[in-house]
Structures are given as C-alpha cells and as structure tokens.
C-alpha cells in the first residue's frame, strides 16, 4: 500500500540561526526573507551548477548527435540501429540510469554527464536527421547542377535549411535536460536537486522547495524562450511569407 513515510514527527525546522524569522519558524508557504538571505549562499550556486550541467550535456550531446545524423544522412542504413539504441537509452528512467552508471563510473560528474548526454541523443538525432531529409530534392538538384561540392551543398544549403528543425530539437533537449538535472543530486552533489533534497529532509521546508523547484521550471522556460529567439534570428527566411 502506498503510504507517506517522511511525515514522522512534525516539521523539522531548519536551523538558520540568526536569520530564522517567524515565517521560517512556522514553515509558511513562502518566506521572502529566507529567499533574500539564502539566494547567494544556497540557491545561486545550485542554479549555476544546474546551468553548467545542462549546458555541457546539451553541447556534448549535440556534437555526438550531429555526427550520427550526418552519418545516417549519408548512409541510410545507420538510421535504424541509431534510433534503436538512442530510444533504449531514452526509455530508461533517469533515477535508474544514474545508479546504473555509478557502478562502473563512480558517483561523480562524469556519471551525471553521461546520463544527461544519453537523454539528448534521441531528440537531437531525430530532429537533425528529419531536418536534413526535409530539404526539397529540387533544391539539392539545383545545388549540384550549379557545381556545388557535397560539402558546399551541406554547409550552404542543407544545414541552413535544417536549422529550424535542429533548433526545435535543441529546445526539446535543453528543456528535458534541465528537468532531468534535478535528479543528478542522487549521485553527485550538484544542481537544483540539492536544495530540493535538503528541503524535503527538513519537514519539508516549503519555501526552499518552492524556490528551488520554481527556479528549475523557470530556467527551463526561459531557455526555451531564448532558443525561440535564436531561431528567429537565424532563420529570417522563415518569418517572411508572400505579402
């Protein structure tokens, strides 16, 4: 039967010594004074780590996916096995994958990054490949007919035209990884999962839960919006329609 195990003996009020206000002592829903005192020492470092974890994972994942997608674009038969393997990785729940990596790699940043990167692969690979494949045949015919080399056609025609799909994939990957990075704390002491974990152990301490959880959500939404902006900047042709 499902039951609640942590609600043992009433809230354990965190001892923030001098800073403990009555709001904190009574564990109200959201204590702004706690935030203002603890943003720099607790929340900001966690947020910074969170951003770095996600950024590194998406960057590495993007490099790997791009290489895989370019290979599969050229050699069609690589697509199915790649999809199979990346789907397999994507399907393993994060909590499990982190632990599975701890055994061979250890409870460190490498385990964390390997797991996060593996979650980007399916998303990015599929989107990049879809983008490359969606380039109209006549456009490629024209490029070849005008004397572009394979490499020139790739850089000047195919990749720019695949850009919307690539950025769409990046959006999904970034948002997914930011969400998953909250689980990193289970194997490596970093990210917004750390203050969430602390708060859960303290009663739960609601202010910190809401602040840290909210920051993770906010970070994901802001990154998404940022990438939408980047895409609009990079693909001016997609904005204009026959007037």
């Amino acid at each position: 039967m499902a039951s609640v195990s942590l609600a043992a003996a009433g809230p354990v009020i965190p001892d923030y010594s001098a800073q403990s206000s009555s709001c904190v002592v009574h564990n109200h829903l959201f204590c702004t004074d706690w935030i203002s005192h603890n943003f720099s020492p607790i929340l900001w470092p966690a947020l910074r780590q969170h951003i770095l974890l996600a950024l590194a994972a998406v960057a590495i994942g993007f490099a790997i996916s791009m290489a895989l997608a370019l290979a599969a674009h050229r050699y069609r038969r690589l697509e199915r096995p790649t999809i199979l393997v990346t789907t397999f990785l994507y399907t393993i729940p994060s909590l499990a994958l982190f632990e599975l990596l701890v055994a061979p790699v250890g409870p460190n940043v490498f385990s964390a990054e390997i797991a996060l990167v593996s979650y980007t692969l399916l998303i990015l690979f599929r989107n990049i490949l879809t983008g490359l494949r969606a380039v109209p045949a006549e456009v490629l015919d024209a490029a070849e007919g005008m004397g572009m080399s394979r490499r020139q056609a790739l850089w000047r025609v195919e990749l720019p035209l695949a850009l919307p799909a690539i950025v769409a994939g990046l959006r999904i990957a970034v948002v997914t990884i930011i969400a998953l990075a909250t689980i990193v704390y289970t194997i490596y002491d970093a990210g917004l999962g750390v203050p969430i974990h602390t708060a859960l152990g303290e009663g739960p301490f609601k202010t910190e839960l809401i602040a840290a959880g909210g920051l993770a959500i906010l970070l994901a939404l802001l990154s998404d919006a940022l990438l939408v902006g980047v895409q609009r900047l990079l693909t001016p042709w997609a904005r204009t329609r026959a007037s």
């Binding site: 456009v139 015919d141 007919g145 005008m146 007037s243």
Partner: protein, 363 residues
Amino acid sequence: MKTEDTAHNEGPSAFAQAAELELRGVSKLYPGQREPAIKELSLTVPAGEVCVLVGPSGSGKTTAMRLINRLIPISGGDILLGGESVLEREPKALRREIGYVIQQIGLFPHQTVGENIATVPRLLGWEEKRIGERVDELLALIDLDPAEMRTRYPSQLSGGQRQRVGVARALAADPPLMLMDEPFGAIDPINRARLQDEFLRLQAQVKKTVVFVTHDIDEAIKMGDRIAILREGGVLAQYDTPQEILTRPADSFVAQFVGADRGLKRLALTTLAELKLIEPNGLRPDESADGARRVPRETSVRDALSTLLSAGGQPLTVIDGEGRVEGLVTLTLVEQLLSEEAANANANGNGNGNGNGNAADGG
C-alpha cells in the same frame, strides 16, 4: 573554353559567351537495365542557338540533358562543349560554367533573391562588388526592380517571378551553355506564354547556346531554333528546324508526335509580313476596304486565318506599325501558301529543303 562572341555584337558586354555543343554517339545505359535510356545520340547545337529536346515520356530527353553537365555519368560517346570534351573536365568546375534551370526551380528558400543569383559567382570566388553589380544587372534584365527585389526571399515571389529569378541565377556567371529542363512546365498557360515570350526576348539579347527540354511540341516549335525529337528508348527521330519538322516529318512517329494539325502549326511560324499580299486596289494608305478588319503585319498566318474564318471569309487589311495599309489577306491566299508548301515538300522528299540544312552548319 573557346568562346564565340561573333554572334553577340548586339548583346550586353557582360553576356559574351556562347559555345557550340556537340553530342557524338552519346549512350546511356542505367545499371540493372537492359535497354539503354539514350542510344547513339548525335547532334550539334550551333553557338547561340536554342535546341529543344522533345519527346514522349521515356524518350530520355531529361537524361540526355543531365548527361551534358555530368549530373548523370555517360555510358558511351562524347560530348564536346566549345570543342572540348566535357568528360575531361572536373564535374563541379564544368557545372559552374553551365547554366542550369529546372522545372521546380530549386531556389534556395533560405537565401534572398540576390544571394540566390550570386550562387555561382560566389562559388567561382568573384569579388563582392562585382557580384553585386552582376546581380543588379541580371535583375534589371529580367524586369525585376533590383532595389526592391534583391532582398526578398523566394517565398515572397509569385511563381512567374521565381522562374525568372531561376533563369537569372543560371545566367549569373555568363555560362556559354544553358540547360533548361521544362522550365515553364509548372506555370499556368497564360503566364507560361508570357514567360516564353520573355525568354525569347532575353535570348535575343544574351544569345546563349540553350538546350531546352519539354514534352510540349507547341512549346518546342515556339522556343526552338532547332528541335530534336526523341522517341522511346532515347533514339533521335528527327533533328531539324521547326519549319522543316512541320513540313517534312521524317517518319510516321514524328508526324504523329507533331500532330495532325501540323499544317496549322506551320502557319503559326509564318507572319503576314512574309506573305505576298494582295494589292490594296485604289485604297489610300490610311483607308481599309469597307469596314474590313485590320491586323498588324506581325500577326501569324494562323491567327489571321482564325480571324478570317470568324469574319465569314471577308478579306483582312494588313497594316504596318504606323497604321498604313500594306495589303489584303484572303482565305485563297492562305490556301495558296499551304499548297505551295505541300508541293515544295513533295518535290524535295525528306531531304534538305529551303537551305535550312542539317545540324552543324547553321547559325
């Protein structure tokens, strides 16, 4: 590459190149197929002329065209451009010297009109300033306002405008040869006729050697200096001027392909100015025979015939550019023209007639 600018004293200086194209026993056999797509195709397109490849589907006309810029590897024979074999050229360098226009146009949707036109000059490493000037010149040539159109994206253009930009893009590096694969095939009939007229006007200025693929015999007759009719299996059925093909089809396949109305089509090739008109007895130059319809001398005999029939056979008054009467045209006159040509055709059999000659000596 050998260039022949003798034919181009009227064109703009930036369109200096045109080269003779010669196909020598060209064959194409696709791997895994028993019958060749192109069989022993030989023809010569003189510098500055439009050669239309026409034929039913399966006749290999597009294959033949794509062999020329080596988008498809050749199986046998040789192709000479300006006297040099294209097979000895590096394919990418060759393609940059050959204009390429396709039915779906294939403009790059992520690039502006200006950038699209600049594609080949950029590949050739021209200076930006020269590229900019070239783009403006070409836009003006295709009647698009450079200031306005240069920065537009293909999605902001009409179908006809896109096709014109496609032609401009192909002309950008002043190629000695243009390959056009059903360039107007996807355009509605009214705009197609307009684009055809525009292209003929453009061609009169730039005088390129053009290989033009179509399945539409009427378009072939209108656009071609010479027409190569291919039959299934990529065999050349006849290569001649439109006039010759209509007057003296080489065999029943050609006759059937050009259609039972080839007499009418032939009339479309002749204008009233070329006829010996009936003297306008006693009419003052500014007068017409009582109420008769007036038609300009540039009218084709076919259109004049149509007007004659709708006018109940009443003679038409032919006028020149200033409105002066040149003479009269009647149904009898048209009949005479037809029978003369028929007699001419019988007398000459299927050989050469009217000094139009065969492939290589024209132009």
